[in-house]
């Protein structure tokens, strides 16, 4: 199918208008309100009175053309051939006809996936490449998403949580996604310093860039047998892997010690409270593929406590702020350790500099 026509460059993506459902085109910018008809099903009502129905289906994000063809098939069948993806990688079918909703849902389920993710649900998991594609990963991403969501699927297909709950998974500290601002995050971590391949380093890496890449100034230029290379001050290294990002001769993967950490309480939207960063709760769980049972049960425990104790419209972080961190650690039974005490740049601002405290 390769063509012989003139080579095109810098054309950019096609104009979106051609992909908009006629109802959307007609009511563009003139929507009045929306309602959630049931989990995964929204209706948006325009000022004109027109309605567009949305059916939201989960996707593993790492998919094949097989899977996608199934979805476009369903779009053709029920949605006049119109579909979109959400910012959290769900698939949305855009329907003119309300009567198509239930048959579509049936077919979606038959195709092996679920409908849901709206309102007070756990939506799809923002995640990254992991062992499937990235050289930098301390864990797998797609597998973790699968096992975590297997455990929590009922919260995707229902809307019974106090509020939205957003989960993210990333396979290394680069956090290619939403780890730093999610209700719950699972983050791959290394726990040992990089190994230095002094033979290749001088050819493969630029020394000043490598030195500058370290957040903690642990890398110093040095020379071995007359060749410029670097050394790592192991007292200062906190295993972030950024040096490996710029210098392939500093691999950091360590099967014995790589694993995952768990974080909670981040948030992005500005509703009620300002955006919040995610905070550490479990510093380390060993990689235990294929189903990481310690990870899934830790996450499930947190979700269930949130489900039970938070009040309506409280996001994870808002709930924890209401009850206080000491209580959160109590309730979850998670151990509070020295690793929870910040020691990075603004650590001093995290100390409790007030008498307001819980006992």
């Amino acid at each position: 199918m390769s063509t012989t026509t003139e080579r095109k460059t810098d054309i950019g993506p096609p104009h979106y208008e051609q992909f908009l459902h006629p109802i959307i085109k007609a009511n563009y910018g003139k929507w009045k309100y929306h309602e959630t008809l049931k989990p995964g099903v929204l209706v948006h009502v325009a000022e004109s009175g027109d309605k567009i129905f949305t059916v939201r289906a989960a996707s593993p994000r790492l998919i094949s053309t097989n899977f996608l063809r199934k979805m476009t098939g369903l779009a053709d069948k029920y949605a006049d051939g119109y579909l979109r993806f959400t910012s959290r990688n769900n698939i949305e079918f855009l329907l003119a006809n309300k009567d198509n909703i239930d048959p579509l849902i049936k077919d979606i389920n038959a195709a092996g996936t679920l409908v849901g993710g709206t309102n007070n649900a756990i939506s799809n998991v923002i995640h990254t490449q992991g062992w499937v594609h990235c050289h930098s990963s301390a864990t797998d991403a797609s597998g973790l998403v699968k096992v975590v969501m297997d455990e929590l699927a009922e919260y995707f297909t229902s809307m019974k949580l106090p509020h939205k709950l957003r989960i993210a998974v990333a396979c290394c500290l680069n956090m290619c996604g939403a780890v730093h601002a999610s209700d719950i995050a699972v983050l791959g971590v290394h726990r040992t310093p990089p190994h230095i391949d002094h033979k290749n380093l001088p050819n493969q890496c630029e020394i000043p860039t490598t030195v500058a890449s370290c957040p903690n100034n642990a890398i110093r230029p040095t020379s071995i047998e007359g060749r410029a290379t670097v050394k790592v001050d192991e007292e200062k290294c906190m295993y972030c892997g950024n040096c490996f990002g710029v210098c392939p001769a500093m691999p950091i993967a360590d099967p014995l010690n790589d694993g995952v950490s768990i974080w909670v309480g981040g948030k992005i939207c500005n509703a009620r409270t300002e955006p919040m960063f995610t905070k550490l709760v479990i510093p380390y769980i060993p990689n235990n593929p294929p189903r990481w049972p310690e990870v899934t049960s830790a996450v499930k425990n947190i979700v269930e406590l949130y489900a039970k104790n938070a009040k309506p419209y409280e996001r994870m972080g808002e709930w924890i702020n209401r009850i206080g961190w000491p209580k959160f650690f109590d309730l979850t039974g998670i151990e509070f350790t020295k690793y929870h005490l910040d020691d990075f740049k603004h650590a001093g601002t995290t100390y409790r500099r007030s008498l307001q405290n819980r006992y």
């Binding site: 095109k8 009045k32 699968k146 601002a181």
Partner: protein, 397 residues
């Protein structure tokens, strides 16, 4: 290697309620050697608890510096199908809208030229073609451009801009996210395809402060819809919420961050002068309340993940700007930002880190903005002021 595909560990991921990528990938393994070897290598990763990819190399398509991530297996002899396994980032449409037809065309191309695996979508927003060999990069590129598509960003360039559904299907949209994204993407094709910046520069558009694209957390520049005038109120619909038994007091009034809502009988009153546009009341009662009419955007700069200096949320540079095509004021500002960052930023220094390093006062001076209290949570609390104006004596004593 035997041709048989044995993946006992991965097979465990075929169980459970969530759609299984393993089942899906296995359905492709017959068609594609790449997929088969990918599954094999992944199985080994699951056994050994480590990845088997080499550090990416420099591969791409002619004349472009970005849009392709090179990837090679560390065990090419064992898994020849993935000895090369590069990804192409295909620039998605505004708001990730597609037709079946358009997607099917892309699938045809990818089945022909690559592994047939995809990410719908990458975290930055691209439609990611996951895995092909170096020789297929250029043919894939030709095929997708032929159908009207192009590559997205990677490396130290403008990354693929993305936006929420906005006016296409949301009553909260305060500006045309879709149009601006299209406009930016096309205006800066060169910046997008040819890395010339200090480091990556991501732009995300959200139609309102709900920020459904996470612009304030994940983009160097967030363009987020906002309004300046009063929240529009439909009192009749509000009375319906009250009548329906919805606990307005507990769920709305008390949760308003500035406590600027009061309810008298079945009437809602909002002290708009103290409303901080958080969206909560509008979110909870979409039939009764709506964003104002005097709409535009706030512009934030500097969000990023933690490496190197710690994660940052974007910080407000422009609390309000009108945003109508051709978006001149915006492009003007963006030009000044890029110019200043280009001149004074360091290699691999994201704009958020740059601003913190040189200081907000210096930064806004550099890009030609005046200091206003909306840019900060609060004025400084330390007395370490660099006074620039002072009186001079004729002679030093």
């Amino acid at each position: 290697m035997s041709d048989e595909l044995k993946t006992p560990l991965l097979d465990e991921l075929e169980k459970g309620a969530w759609p299984s990528f393993v089942t899906d990938l296995k359905s492709m393994a017959g068609k594609s050697n790449m997929v088969k070897d990918l599954l094999r290598q992944l199985e080994k990763s699951y056994r050994d608890k480590r990845g088997y990819w080499k550090h990416g190399g420099l591969v791409g398509v002619m004349g472009y510096g970005g849009g392709v991530i090179g990837r090679y297996s560390a065990l090419p002899d064992e898994f020849p199908g993935v000895s090369h396994f590069h990804t192409l980032r295909i620039n998605q449409t505004s708001g990730w809208f597609y037709t079946s037809k358009a997607l099917n065309e892309l699938m045809d191309i990818w089945d022909e030229h690559g592994s047939g695996l995809l990410n719908m979508h990458g975290s930055t927003g691209d439609l990611v073609f996951l895995g092909t060999v170096s020789d297929e990069l250029e043919p894939t590129f030709r095929a997708v451009t032929e159908k009207g598509w192009d590559l997205g960003g990677s490396g130290s360039d403008l990354r693929t801009p993305s936006c929420c559904v906005g006016p296409a299907r949301c009553e909260n949209a305060c500006f045309d996210t879709m149009a601006l994204t299209y406009n930016i993407t096309h205006k800066y094709q060169d910046e997008l395809h040819r890395p010339m910046f200090n480091y990556k520069y991501k732009i995300k558009m959200s139609g309102c402060p709900n920020d459904c694209t996470a612009a304030i957390a994940r983009s160097d520049m967030g363009v987020i819809g906002i309004w300046k005038d009063d929240i529009r109120v439909n009192q009749a619909e509000f009375a319906n919420y009250v009548d329906s038994g919805f606990n307005v007091q507990e769920f709305v009034v008390e949760k308003c961050p500035t406590k600027c809502i009061s309810v008298e009988g079945k009437e809602i009153k909002i002290d708009n002068s103290n409303c901080v546009k958080c969206m909560h009341c509008i979110n909870t009662m979409p039939k009764a309340l709506a964003v104002g009419k005097d709409r535009g955007v706030a512009i934030t700069l500097g969000a990023k993940a933690p490496i190197v200096e710690g994660a940052l949320f974007g910080s407000v540079m422009v609390p309000f700007m009108k945003m109508e095509p051709p978006f001149e004021e915006f492009h003007d500002l963006l030009g000044r930002i890029w110019e200043f960052w280009d001149e004074y930023g360091k290699n691999r220094e994201r704009i958020g880190e740059f601003i913190v390093r040189i200081g907000l006062a210096t930064f806004i001076e550099g890009i030609g903005l005046d200091p206003i209290p909306q840019m900060v949570k609060q004025p400084r609390d330390n007395p370490y002021i660099f006074f620039e104006e002072y009186y001079k004596e004729e002679e030093e004593k």
